[in-house]
Amino acid sequence: MAVATAPPGERARTRVRVPASGVGLGIATLYLSTIVFIPLGAIILKSQDAGWSTFWSAVTAPQAWAALQLTIGISLVVTLVNIVMGTLIAWVLVRDEFPGKRVVDTLIDLPFALPTIVAGLVLLALYGAKSPVGIDIAYTRLAVAVALAFVTLPFVVRTVQPVLLELDREMEEAAASLGASRLTTFRRVILPNLYPAIAAGAALSFARAISEFGSTVLISGNLPFKTQVASVQIFGQIESDNIVAAAAISTALLVVSLVVLVGIDVLQRWGVRRG
């Protein structure tokens, strides 16, 4: 998946204009508005329907607040795990050679292609009540974390891998020849080059984790105050026809996502500047 692309089209181009671009712009605007912007705007409007205090009390209602806290907390933990394991996996895929490496490299993307409900089912098969290895973590917070780790696995790997591939090995050799230990070389020479990629991957994985729904449905048991994540909480509110409350919690979640998206944009420009 191509992540972390710089905004295209910055080169100077002053020649012929595409005549159809006005039509294209109209179509694109209409399409995005009817499918994305107007509906998302409707959520924000709906959340403010009964005023700010109603909005605030819906978001801070004990069950909703617990779900939001749990979602953000577990997403942070999972993102930390991804930073460490994603960088390690990228490293092994780039610098190590072993039979079957190509297969492993292909499988990394499986969580992107696998439906989330199947991801949940698959994890429940191995780590649920009928586990053949006797590990039953179903309906615990650990299970939620495992589900989120599954669906966000590729992000850090796929942002770090290309940077590692293009890293100039001469710098490392120079560091080594100057007497730096391999750990020092990694910490002082390699890691600083990876920071922008790791940060971008981490932000993407956090954004994905806080909005995850399908993979947690089966394995979390959706126990309020214990394993219920924000998306499941919103789903429950829709089912019980509390649309204003659902819109309020959705708006809170959207704000967090938006902050992360803006953060990614800033990080990308930082990465581009650093070359």
Partner: protein, 266 residues
């Protein structure tokens, strides 16, 4: 040597993590599906509810893929070749759907196209239901998979530049002719990759469709909804059978993508 130990332990940790999180769980479901042979699988997957769910999923996915392919190419061209105010904003918001919870997507569509809304009741008056019907499910699927084609095609358009297009223009080719004969051939692999990714995402969408479909068995139940409903109903063989089909499609998609982009990490 310490170096070999480090290398081996890193390899072990990385592969162990992948095995425990990814490979063993997926493998186990494959094994469970065919634990008692092929006929229980076939029996479960050929039931009327299952075949209906599969067919509905394919139909919705095809509509959504077609819409997002056309839109994806137009937006990529606009972003890379266009000059208009708000281009930066368009570039920033195009990824928004990937950061929105599928449940929020579903809710947002209900708020605009639901039966009690202005738009929804107008359509209802003309005999077209959007929410709790197929059009709403297509909309939800389009929403969640919207940026995937753009994200693949735009970087390639940027990379190839517009010299060839300019040359075609100079030689008197029209807009369409330039697009079909110059632009499209040079983005075809990126486009194919984007289309396959979109297809995978559409076939596997769960949350957004769960909200807008009403989840009526044999009517608005897609393949992923079938998995959930069967599992909650303690019909594990059927849940596993459909999960296997969806996982098999995902793996075929992965292999296809690798064939499209063999040079990816080289």
């Amino acid at each position: 040597m310490g170096s070999a130990t480090t290398r081996w332990s890193m390899r072990l940790v990385a592969l162990g993590y992948l095995a425990l999180l990814l490979i063993l769980p997926v493998g186990l479901v494959f094994w469970r599906t065919f634990q008692h042979g092929f006929s229980p699988f076939w029996h479960a997957i050929s039931s009327p509810a299952a075949t209906h769910a599969l067919w509905l999923t394919v139909q919705i996915a095809l509509w959504a893929v077609a819409a997002n392919t056309v839109f994806g190419v137009i937006v990529s061209l606009l972003l890379v070749r266009g000059r208009f105010p708000g281009r930066r904003v368009l570039n920033a918001v195009i990824d928004l759907p990937l950061a929105v919870s599928p449940v929020v997507v579903g809710l947002s569509l209900i708020l605009v196209y639901g039966r009690n809304t202005t738009v929804g009741s107008w359509f209802g008056g003309h005999g077209v239901d959007i929410i709790y019907a197929i059009p709403g499910m297509v909309l939800a699927t389009v929403f969640v998979s919207l940026p995937l084609v753009v994200r693949e095609v735009a970087p390639v358009l940027e990379e190839i530049g517009d010299e060839q297009e300019q040359a075609a223009w100079t030689l008197g080719a029209g807009g369409w002719q330039t697009f079909w004969r110059i632009t499209l051939p040079s983005i075809r692999w990126a486009l194919a990759y984007g289309v396959v990714l979109t297809l995978a995402r559409c076939l596997g969408e769960f949350g957004a469709v769960a909200v807008v479909s009403g989840r009526v068995v044999g009517k608005t139940q897609t393949a992923t909804l079938f998995v959930e409903e069967r599992f909650q109903d303690f019909d594990q063989p059927a849940a596993y059978a459909m999960a296997f089909v969806l996982a098999a499609v995902a793996i075929v998609v992965l292999i296809t993508i690798n064939l499209f982009r063999p040079e990816r990490h080289r």
